[in-house]
Symmetry: C2
Subunit: 155 residues, 2 copies
DNA sequence: CGGATGTGTAACCGCGACAGTTACCGTCGT
DNA sequence: ACGACGGTAACTGTCGCGGTTACACATCCG
């Protein structure tokens, strides 16, 4: 399947932004935290910007900022903003229409694929970015935490 | 994500085998129905054989045969037999341990990923190969039908 | 104003996965 | 023995991705 790490990067970036509300975070800093090239971060942020999750400021003192409350950003919304392709792929060429399976397999596959993908989306939709941030604050009560932890809304 | 069509091919092949119980079906025939090269079919069948779903006969009059009842083969079992990689991928490089997100993101991601993958597997596990074959038999019962009432809605 | 600091995006490279293909060997029925 | 068939290795072309460089544009500050 050759899964990409876009979703992992996106969650990482958004979690950092959620922890620095109001202040713009540069792609250089984000790239250092994720351990990748700043341009990779900017490409990712470009998709997140189109989805309306972040806003960016150009020029010096610029950077990305979360422009929606983390509670309103579900992991499914992030996934759909990031992933360009479907989770499943059908036949690249048309199957043999002379075979009963070849005639009907596409319809059956479409049903199976959409059902499975919906299950995937529903699972991701049950958590928000705020949950992710809260989980990290819980697990390591480090002195870096300045604000009191938000209510944990784990299901 | 760059999904492969292995799963689609596997369902197609197993459906054909389920419709020809007992008789061996050659990779040449299966390749013609799927519209791909016989070696691609044989590679796929190699994985299905290791999973115990099909047996193959060598030599002349050889071919693949379903060696378990279709009711006992869930789509999830097929998926797991075919797919070599995970549906999600984590950071390829270690994130920055100096950042609180970088330290903990992997744990959170592992939880999110496993939950979503489990939802995917449970969705696929709810259908068996027999269901797929039955669906196809229903939708086109005989050439007496004038026109199929339903059409594929996916573009 | 002009340089420093950012973003935005295009272009390219290298890598890995995949489908497709060829080739060769082993196996089995006629 | 011969031909049909599976099993598998090896190679090719393509595609998507992460990584990188380069450049245009925007913004702040001295």
């Amino acid at each position: 399947m050759a899964a990409s790490c876009r979703f992992a990067f996106a969650l990482h970036v958004l979690a950092v932004l959620a922890m620095h509300p109001g202040t713009g975070v540069t792609s250089k800093l984000l790239g250092a935290s994720v351990n990748t090239h700043p341009v990779v971060i900017r490409r990712l942020i470009s998709a997140l910007r189109k989805a309306g999750f972040v806003c960016c400021a150009s020029g010096a003192k610029g950077g990305a900022t979360l422009c929606r409350p983390p509670e309103e950003i579900s992991l499914d919304a992030i996934y759909q903003a990031i992933q360009p392709a479907r989770a499943f792929a059908a036949h690249p060429q048309q199957p043999d229409a002379g075979c009963p399976v070849g005639r009907q397999i596409k319809t059956v596959l479409a049903d199976v694929f959409s059902t499975a993908e919906q299950a995937l989306h529903e699972s991701l939709a049950q958590r928000t970015l705020a949950d992710v941030v809260a989980t990290m604050s819980e697990e390591v009560p480090s002195p870096l935490r300045t604000r009191p932890p938000r209510r944990a809304v784990r299901a």
